[in-house]
Symmetry: C2
Subunit: 350 residues, 2 copies
């Protein structure tokens, strides 16, 4: 897909860069592991250091020293996750900063304006977050509001050359999901996301909802499953036609010492790694696996050394990005099903 | 100076790698900034992960992925810094682990044995730490014990090809310092350190003690001022003939957001850097200064991002290592005095 800052190839995983940085790694580390696009969190950047400041620096790319594509979320998800509940009206969301408690407002127009100031390549519409579980009536209400906000986002866009994606809601009701997809297509966006999943529902329900939406999204536009997920979720998402993913899991798990390998997850603090000379994953070509033993990584983690977070994050992100590259190659060879079987076969070995 | 893992050129600054890592940077980062040799803390490695484990891995170089020279301290300084005082006898020091309270013993023979297991290039003799202030009698007693321990260290060495440095004590008494230097030379070491300074005394007293010792140390052996210091201390040390330094200051200050520049120190959290587009130091060629603004570094520090510690550490270590390289070049041009004047002139500009 083409953006202002270059192209990226789908299916793609976007490392999350909350505070104008993907935690614990440099842009050069991300480039070495072939990260094609990252995600910036609008809420966090709006609160600190502020979108106007970032605009003064020529945008988020320049500010954080990253010249490949960036997708920004709308800020909605973080606002709805705040401890003190946001107040939602037709106009938008009123909420309090988690930093200093100041009262703030974010409507569809503001979400676009902030993302235009950040200068991301792909902006996301402001959507409402539907709690799980929710009744059909609640879901219809919130989804309809999301449609009206989506239209207002599209209308608020100015001529910056940035792309804008719509977000399909509809809760856990397949017919509402389909209906909403069509409503968004009617407005017309540069890509379509599936929102409101991975919110506590069963995996099977998440997959059912994905299946309900995907066939109704136009194939010539990217399809983005937001906030997902585990390696298995990525494989299942791609299997169902998803093109884009983002998740904090690889970076957050890395900092907690949970590391992904081709044969399953490792808890690095485990005593059995005390004198283990092997790399994290014998099949991995990342900087960490090329140069360090499990025993050394365990030692760094036990000491809470900053280098532990750095090396673990490099490995986990490399694992995710490599998984996407493998899926891309399998699709090109028209052997995705075989790849999917292999993937589960390797996991079962552990 | 030649060691098993290559040579290093003096005067040299050794970044401190407490836990088998120089905090917040990779070995490749250290190589990019031309670090020639690093220091490992024997006490910390002895406590965790243990010298025997590191020996199993072929030594500290292999374990931490660093193939340039390493100097290890004896562990004495950390033991004497423990909250619960170590008990010193002729045989050595009995102390409790700061991690689990277990009772441990370190004598001269053990200090050598542990450092041989670590496989460092340069080992340090176990010395006693003289409190400041101390009476002449206390100082004589502790210094004499240090001499006897130094001889036992030399005798305990096996045929590993590692170098062993003696440590000159003598407190704040110039004649005792001189006397002790001669006593150590009489035993014969591969290099000589000045210990027991930077312990709370005035700068002028530290310089006086350095001046008291240096002329008595053989010029063909490296002279090492332990645990020192500020950039000014390094310049004054080199001016007085010191060849080697180590200090946690550049790395610790980096993590606290205090950054060294050619015109003085910067506190990066200061509000005046909020929208400052300039690099930390316009005269610096480090990775951080080449790619990031003060405003971005302030933002990362405010967010307590791990990348903040990484980028700040790269800059501060680069500053220290570059200062040493400049002094080396000035000495080679026979213009050290001019360099020293310039150095203070630049600082005065701020």
């Amino acid at each position: 897909m083409h953006t202002q800052h270059g192209t990226f190839q789908t299916p793609v995983f976007m490392p999350v860069g909350t505070q104008a940085t993907v935690k614990a790694v440099t842009p050069e580390n991300l480039i070495e592991m072939n990260a094609q696009i990252i995600l910036g969190n609008t809420y966090h950047l709006y609160i600190r250091p502020g979108h106007e400041l970032i605009k003064q620096f020529g945008g988020l790319h320049e500010f954080m020293h990253w010249d490949r594509p960036i997708l920004t979320d709308s800020g909605g998800f973080q606002i709805f996750s705040l401890k003190e509940l946001a107040k939602i009206t037709e106009r938008g969301a009123t909420f309090r900063s988690h930093l200093d408690g100041s009262k703030l407002f974010l409507g569809p127009e503001e979400a676009v304006q902030i993302q235009e100031a950040l200068g991301s390549d792909i902006m996301m519409c402001l959507d409402t977050c539907i709690p799980y579980p929710a009744t059909r009536d609640e879901t219809i209400k919130a989804t309809d509001l999301t449609s009206r906000w989506a239209r207002r986002c599209r209308e608020a866009q100015t001529d910056t050359g940035q792309l804008l994606f719509g977000i399909v809601q509809g809760g856990m009701f397949p017919d509402l999901r389909q209906e909403h997809a069509l409503a968004l297509i009617d407005i017309g966006f540069d890509g379509y996301a599936i929102g409101g999943l991975s919110v506590g529902e069963d995996k099977s329900l998440m997959q059912e909802m994905t299946e309900a939406v995907i066939p109704h999204l136009p194939v010539e536009y990217p399809r983005y499953l937001m906030g997902v997920g585990t390696p298995e979720d990525l494989v299942e998402g791609v299997y169902r036609g998803v093109d884009m993913f983002d998740c904090v899991m690889p970076t957050r798990n890395a900092r907690n010492g949970t590391l992904f390998t081709s044969t399953g997850k490792i808890t690095i603090k485990n005593a059995r790694f005390r004198d283990d000379k092997a790399p994290l994953d014998a099949n991995c070509s990342c900087y960490t696996c090329r140069n360090y033993s499990r025993a050394y990584l365990r030692h760094l983690f036990q000491c809470r050394e900053i280098l532990s977070y750095h090396l673990n994050t490099i490995h986990n992100l490399h694992y995710y990005l490599n998984l996407m590259a493998e899926m891309r190659a399998a699709i090109e060879r028209d052997q995705f099903s075989a790849f999917r079987n292999d993937f589960y076969g390797r996991l079962a070995c552990e």
